[in-house]
Amino acid sequence: MRTIRFILQKEFLQIFRNKSMLRIILVIPIVQLLVLSNAANYEIKNLAIDVVDHDHSAWSQRLVNKLTASGYFKIYRHSFDRKAAFEDLELDKADIVLMIPPHFERDLVRENEATLQLLVNAINGSKAGLANGYANSIIRDFNQGIRTEWLAMDKHSGPAVIDVTYSNWFNVRLDYKVFMVPGILVALVTMIAAFLSGMNIVKEKEIGTIEQLNVTPIRKHHFILGKLIPFWIVALFELAFGLLIGKLVFSLPIGGSLWLIFLFAAVYLWVMLGMGLLISTFTETQQQAMFIAWFFVIIFLLMSGLFTPVENMPQWAQTLTWFNPIAYFVKVIRMVLLKGSDWGNIQSYLLIMLAYALVMNGVAILNYRKTS
């Protein structure tokens, strides 16, 4: 125990004396949370819309107003000119074009029916889908407004319409940041644990001090614990720090128990620390360690459901997430923070993480040798 204490003391001295390390610990979480949470946002606002209005009636104007008032659309060009609108689509200046035909108002009144055309720039499929969806629901709403108010028709006469109302559970206002911040916190602590731990051990190889340590009576587990515990503590501190920023800046809801999150993180971090340790056992330079850790972390992150829902992945990729530690933590932190899940909901995930941590560290320790 005493040996570990001396190693910990040395590690903390080195961490806190290293200016770039302090920056990594304090600045990166703030930047990541503030920038990424705002940038990784799938809700699309301010879609550029071109309105080609051949009718220029009071009603067509009202429709346009309704579109812009929604906040989803911003008029890029409002004209009679189809060609100009097509050009805008081609030049990527407009995301969507609404064509209002001549006699739109007249047809609506006389024939009780009118046609509109939407042209959607579908280079970015999900954006196009959203633009289309927003526009459709606004037009449907407009239509209903007309039927009740202007034509003095009963809502329920005419073709039957199934009216769907939404109620968003766990994230009432569909605030994307609230969804992203917990996931980004996971990415953050993962990087601390997986990169810094491995690089720190390999650094001793690089500067040659590992040889000096290897001729001392330090035991393998002393050395490993002494090396990993500091980054475990730093990562847990980062998590607390990040949650605080999330709470202050994004009013992140904390539905469940913070203890549960820290308990899960404490176990999860050992998986990542074990990975860093394992990588350090077969690399000789910090660059090698960094690149290998990066390779795994990026794959784990992209397949974790942090940015794209796991349910959208092909079956084989969904199966792989069973082996992806990041996927578990992303899921659990969202469950606990947003849904207020409790011990019963996450205990099976915690057990899986525990097993994963034991296996990862076991392999790493077997692979780590003081004697060659």
């Binding site: 005493r2 040996t3 204490r5 001396f6 190693i7 003391q9 040395k10 001295l13 080195q14 004396r17 290293n18 500067i207 040659g208 001090t209 040889e211 000096q212 340590l213 290897n214 001729v215 001392t216 009576p217 330090i218 035991r219 003081k370 004697t371 060659s372």
Partner: protein
Amino acid sequence: MQPIVTNALTKKFGSFIATNAITFEVKQGEIFGFLGANGAGKTTAMRMLCGLLRPSSGTAKVAGYDVYTQADKVKQNIGYMSQRFSLYEDLKVKENIRFYGGIYGLRNGEIKEKTERLLQKLGMEAEADQLVSALPLGWKQKLAFSVAILHDPSIVFLDEPTGGVDPVTRRQFWDLIYEAANRGVTVFVTTHYMDEAEYCDRVSIMVDGRIQALDTPRQLKAQFGAESMDDVFLQLARGK
């Protein structure tokens, strides 16, 4: 009991024999020079004696402990200073001493007392709170040596300890070695400086993984009819 006893100690890397059945003994309190050209197998032999490398065959006992089965005991009883600088540059002088003292199991009081004595002996009291990276190389080496024997080992292994150090500092370094030897510490040292070989009580010269000569510098010079250790070394190294 002799501090170092080896018998036919061999290390093979694949088909390459780095150290070929070397047999020798080192006496208590002796300064034993371990010479050889680059690649002659010195470092390999030394790493086996320190418990860093597992021998392929042969036996070796260091401080009375078997290097195969009692590597931990060996490590507790030896000091080691490698040619690559072994202190932490980003720790202060005092912090380095405390760290190495601590992992050898010295008590806090001992660490404090030894730190004071060590700094006083090296004349480095004023630098106690400086980062090691700020010290000149010669000072670092002297400090590294003093830290290597902080836990009072019975044997200290020095792997080219004076590489790149100026002659004056080298001389001071050897004063530290003599002082340690006078206290009964056995010193096992590799070097490329032949004047340093003259300071040793006995010298072995390795050529291609074998010990080709082992005696006092005076005897070796007589045996090879040489003026200096330089001549002895060149005759052996060229004669292969």
